[in-house]
């Protein structure tokens, strides 16, 4: 499963590299009469990225087939393998950051940051002692505000302008 995930990542990187190379080629000829053009370097980099991606995909495919062969050999001896437990907390953190940024200006620093810190504390711990965690969130947001706004003079958005 790990190898499959790695392969997916490599395929996505390959697709991005191909897209980058196509865009670089659309910038025009890499060499002109007066020297190299803005297209030259991106074409070089895009080409190199595709080569590295291809090497890594080949390596991963080879390792995948070897792992499958080894797995089928051991399967009969050990019985069915236990399913891998997946952890998706990082995806929830990404979602939390995304919505925090979206709400940062409309909701203001205090409300958006308070909700964000509270959500993150819950994601990194158990769903209990909510009042204590809410109080900790408020303290963290207040301290960060003092640090940014008062100590370092950074203007943060607030609902009162």
């Amino acid at each position: 499963m790990l190898l499959n995930r790695q392969l997916v990542f490599l395929y996505v990187t390959l697709a991005v590299s191909v897209g980058y190379l196509v865009t670089a080629l659309s910038l025009g000829a890499p060499v002109a009469e007066n020297g190299l053009t803005p297209a030259f370097f991106p074409i070089l980099v895009g080409g190199a990225a595709i080569v590295f991606c291809s090497i890594l995909i080949l390596q991963a495919l080879r390792a995948s087939s070897e792992a499958k062969a080894a797995k089928s050999e051991t399967k009969s001896d050990t019985g069915p393998a236990t399913p891998e437990i997946r952890n998706y907390t990082h995806l929830w953190v990404v979602v939390a950051i995304f919505f925090y940024i979206l709400g940062f200006k409309p909701l203001g620093y205090f409300l958006s940051s308070g909700l964000f810190v509270f959500a993150l504390i819950l994601l990194f711990s158990k769903f209990d002692k909510l009042l204590l965690k809410a109080l900790i969130s408020a303290a963290v947001v207040g301290t960060a505000y003092l640090m940014f706004q008062q100590l370092f003079g950074v203007r943060l958005p607030t609902l009162w302008g």
């Binding site: 060499v31 190299l36 990225a49 890594l56 940062f104 940051s113 504390i121 940014f148």
Partner: protein
């Protein structure tokens, strides 16, 4: 000589209570981050980078220098007491530090680590102060073609230094170079890879790249791993350290020997000058060399203070070494010097050969702070708060990561007061997280991104000057020197078989 005098006269700046507070605060923050397994001084510096906007550049650089020095020695605390290196550079320290802890000599091991760090940091800083002006003068001799070959050398060395994962490092470097090409071309009025989005015309800003790569990616990594820290917390609660046991007896220091300290410092310093090598490689090589030349190699890994001294002297000497290419050529040796480079760039200072001559007044206080951190802050911090540092491991991780995430996201807003930079930091964080998760070294991506614009510019200028003749890179002596140096490194790092790690290190 003038520069050396300037550095020593910069110590007077530390008499300013505000500057001294920032330097001490930087050191304490760096130590705390380095001591907590999973967090690094790089993360601390990435989080504090936005705040440098409001500080004057000398103060910001001085605080950065103290964070850097603290980051190299802070990891030895948990490495010694609970066998979990707080930072990768302290991995070798754990080999002998933890057995000493088990023998009831944990405080003594920490004392040896602090002494080694102090010595290494001081020698590294003094070598930097003495050597950097000469390297800067030499660097003025490097012309356009040589500059391209030098940058290509740095990038190639960073890639091939990642033994066992060179294709991953190569791809990561390409991703960094791709990011560097976004925006307006440096030589012609052409926008590239902006896809009509005006926010990208000026290119991708350094701030979201650093915050995303080091802070947001770290939070995502911690969220995705189900690391059980209860064992570490329980082990930390059992550790009792008394202040009076910190000072190593003179007989112990004599047994370690000046030669071990000094040789390890030199190894660390020279490893530091290589792009991408870093503190962990410095301490590994110094440790290996100390074992190789020891009369009693069997005692290593069982609580030999020589191992601690070698490892800690070397990783702190790396600080001085890594600043040589950063200050003289604008090539960062590791992530921390890359962020320091960011501080310079944010303040409109272009690192490179002219920096040491034109802006020596800005650089000298930073080197003074580096030396001050090594000689004064390392022993003082250990003495004052050493017994309590081990409790850092027990800090609530849910609150810690929430604070880091908050500082990272709001910090990326500070640069331009635009939410676009916040989204960019998130995007970079997600990219760096998946790169790390799949075994890609993010330092090569960062170096590709930092060196990319100059690499392209010098390539195009070199070929324009030679009417498109690529042999110019082999006919110019400065360029030929770096081409030859690249080949030497390729031979030693790729073609020749690498040296084997000591058994104790590999089993770890």
């Amino acid at each position: 000589m003038d520069f050396i005098f300037l550095v020593f006269s910069s110590f007077s700046l530390l008499a300013d209570p505000v500057i001294l507070t920032y330097v001490i605060l930087g050191f304490v923050i760096g130590t705390i981050f380095a001591a907590i397994p999973g967090l690094t001084a790089t993360l601390a510096m990435a989080l504090l980078l936005p705040l440098t906007y409001t500080l004057n550049v000398e103060t910001a650089l001085m605080a950065c220098a103290s964070i850097y020095m603290a980051g190299m020695c802070g990891g030895s605390i948990t490495a010694t007491t609970i066998n979990i290196p707080g930072a990768p550079s302290s991995m070798m320290t754990a080999l002998d530090g933890y057995p000493m802890q088990q023998q009831g000599k944990g405080a003594l091991a920490l004392g040896h680590a602090a002494l080694g760090s102090m010595f290494g940091g001081a020698v590294g800083a003094l070598l930097l102060i003495a050597v950097a002006p000469f390297v800067a003068e030499l660097s003025l001799l490097v012309k356009t073609t040589g500059k391209f070959s030098l940058l290509a050398f740095a990038l190639i060395v960073v890639v091939i230094a990642q033994r066992g994962r060179i294709p991953q490092a190569g791809l990561a470097a390409c991703i960094g170079l791709m990011l560097a090409t976004v925006g307006l071309d440096a030589m012609e009025p052409v926008t590239r890879f902006t896809y009509g989005y005006s926010n990208l015309t000026a290119g991708i800003d350094l701030m979201p790249v650093i915050i995303g790569t080091f802070a947001i990616a770290e939070v995502l990594t911690q969220a995705s791993s189900r690391a059980d820290i209860s064992a570490a917390t329980a082990a930390a609660s059992k550790v009792k350290i008394r202040r009076r046991d910190f000072i190593p007896p003179l007989s112990d220091i004599r047994k370690v020997g000046f030669g071990v300290y000094f040789k390890s410092c030199l190894i660390g310093y020279f490893v530091g000058t290589l792009p991408g090598a870093g503190g962990s490689m410095g301490s590994f090589l110094a440790y290996t060399e100390t074992v190789r030349t020891s009369d009693d190699p069997e005692s290593f890994g069982k609580g030999n203070p020589k191992g601690i001294a070698a490892s800690e002297s070397a990783n702190n000497a790396v600080c001085g070494g890594a600043m040589v290419p950063m200050l003289t050529f604008g090539i960062p040796g590791d992530p921390i010097t890359a962020i320091m480079l960011g501080v310079l760039v944010i303040n409109g200072i272009q690192p490179g050969p002219q920096l040491m001559s034109d802006q020596a007044g800005l650089i000298a206080p930073m080197l003074a702070a580096l030396l001050f951190s090594a000689v004064v802050l390392i022993p003082l911090t250990l003495w004052l708060i050493g017994p309590y540092f081990i409790k850092i491991v027990s800090v609530r991780k849910d609150v810690l990561y929430a604070v880091i995430a908050l500082l990272a996201v709001v910090g990326s807003y500070v640069a331009t007061y635009s939410t676009f930079q916040m989204f960019m930091a998130l995007g970079m964080g997600v990219l760096a997280f998946y790169l790390r998760r799949n075994g890609f070294p993010v330092i090569t991506m960062l170096l590709g991104y930092i060196l990319g614009p100059n690499l392209e510019e010098f390539l195009r200028r070199s070929l324009a000057l030679s009417n498109g003749d690529p042999t110019t890179f082999f006919t110019n002596p400065d360029s030929l020197f770096f081409v030859a140096l690249t080949l030497v490194f390729v031979y030693f790092l790729v073609i020749r078989k690498p040296a084997k790690a000591p058994a104790a290190a590999t089993s770890k």
